[in-house]
Symmetry: C2
Subunit: 335 residues, 2 copies
């Protein structure tokens, strides 16, 4: 018996023992523990199993297993208003001492007085001013640091929890489950891309380059010998409605096979995703749980869900009924 052969047979014995011993307790934990048994959970599991089963007519190679998730109202809560708007308002208040003119200048005066009705009445133009003041004319680095600082101390007005704990436990499990099955998970959100990138990796396991969102234009320059990226007060992409398939085209470069949303702003992303050939999965989170979260849809000022709810049946989209389909909504508080 030569050395090579001896080595190989020991290897075989070693591997055999290893696999035999492991075969006994090899039951993986069942997926999606925070999802109640029922048609919604079954539909997800059936889809994932069929696209990952080699030899199945529905098999999809790993490099095409692209899953896109909206953020506000899909991965984390969006009530009473989008969390990024709370950030912007907090920043205006923080910056106010350096801007005495804001005491009389709208929409800043209303923000400082806490008159949100007036702020909203200032419309797109007003919101653009708030956006420019809090999101632009600064380096990308400074913006990231501001958001990061804010996330450490800001608390949700109703629950008192950090915003990064206002995420949906069942969706965290869904992201993990998809990734464990070879999916590449992306965020495709109307929210600001630079804002989400600060927490997406730690909170959702989604790295910055897999976060797509609305963005401002930016410029590169060398200032006092130091290269910087400056965020400009000009819209680059509005990643909402028709903007979502466009964002997917520009950033991902291929059509997803799985898309998750919760509002009419996700309609086109789901439509684009599920109109492709082969197996496709579209899923909509319907906020039906006034007790554990919020209940809203057709008439809501955030996350309005109307047309997508009407068309879900004929488009073959799965609708999550939060109250019935989810065992838990939020993860346990971190110590």
């Amino acid at each position: 018996m030569n050395t090579r052969y001896r080595r190989q047979s020991w290897l075989t014995v070693g591997l055999l023992i290893f696999f035999l011993v492991n075969a006994i307790p090899a039951q993986a934990a069942p997926p999606l523990p925070s999802w109640n048994e029922g048609p919604t959970k079954s539909a997800i599991v059936e889809f994932v199993e069929k696209v990952t089963k080699k030899g199945s007519p529905d098999f999809v190679p790993e490099n095409q297993r692209i899953a896109t998730f909206d953020n506000d109202g899909t991965l984390w809560a969006e009530q009473p208003v989008y969390f990024q708007l709370i950030y912007a308002i907090d920043q205006v208040k923080k910056m106010a001492p350096e801007h005495p003119e804001w005491k009389t200048e709208e929409p800043f005066a209303s923000v400082l007085k806490g008159d949100m009705k007036n702020v909203i009445a200032s419309g797109k133009e007003g919101l653009m001013k708030i956006l420019a003041a809090t999101h632009a004319n600064m380096t990308a680095e400074k913006f990231r640091a501001n958001v990061s600082d804010w996330l450490k101390t800001a608390r949700h007005p109703k629950t008192g929890r950090p915003f990064t704990e206002m995420v949906y436990q069942p969706q965290l499990e869904l992201l993990d489950y998809l990734r464990a099955n070879g999916f590449k998970t992306f965020i495709v959100s109307g929210g600001g891309v630079d804002f989400m990138r600060v927490f997406a990796e730690k909170t959702y396991g989604i790295p910055p380059d897999q976060v797509i969102g609305s963005s401002l234009k930016a410029k590169y320059e060398v200032k006092d010998g130091k290269p910087i990226i400056i965020k400009l007060p000009e819209i680059n992409l509005v990643d909402d409605k028709e903007g979502k398939p466009v964002g997917i085209h520009q950033y991902i470069g291929q059509r997803p096979i799985f898309a998750a949303g919760n509002s009419d702003g996700d309609y086109q992303m789901l439509e684009w995703t599920t109109a492709g050939a082969g197996p496709r999965f579209g899923i909509i989170l319907h906020h039906t749980d006034a007790e554990r979260e919020w209940a809203y849809d057709r008439e809501s000022h955030v996350g309005k869900l109307d047309k997508a709810l009407d068309d879900a049946g004929k488009k073959g989209w799965t609708v999550i009924d939060m109250q019935n389909d989810w065992k838990t909504v939020f993860p346990p508080a971190k110590q």
Copy 2:
């Protein structure tokens, strides 16, 4: 001895044998076989080893190991002209029968007559017309199919090889080596993103969402019940010079620690990458090999390398001397 203990000790024995046996032949193939031994190869290997060595002061966590590569002249050749321009010209010729007006309309008339001097003389405006005719006003799907068809039959005018074989074997090995060490590899190129995405995965192992390039605006619409993405004849991003750090900011969302280029168009990407804190690596491919490839730099009409070559020393960028550092330039022809 209870069952659990017995199981564990068998597992230990199995694993022990497995690892002992494997420890003997565990020499991995040496990296970068097409690179000659010397300071360039050593610099690459030393960088990769120090950033991946746990406990080293230069250790970089995997999620920050971002490497960006220019494409034209860095991953594949760019002489006698950018390959994408050859594509555009071939498309004009192919489309000409449907456009009788091109016989007299510039720059199309010159393209059809093969008068490249006149085409180039038509300047930005002329090139935009060619771009609009060959890259826009069609669905993203149609464009992809056109490029894919072209790549199957088009041949390089000098070597007669398919363009996807005009790639640099040492760079393919460098990409593999970086990925084997936990790097995420990206293309950041002045070339068109939709063009490169057609071949980047198969050719370089870089998936579509990790390809960043110049792009046109796009719109989403539903036509005859079918959702489509249409490429518009309007520039979205020019991913060259100052546009490269901007593209990195918009698409990757974090600063690379490794960047590779070959021309002054890559200056800002290398500057941005290597000005960050901690270990950084900038590398420039200098085309010095008139025999096996081309020799060009300061005066070239493509891939002009002038300022970046002057500043490489003081910026700490490594310069690849193609003639001396590379054992092979192109991979063997595929059968």
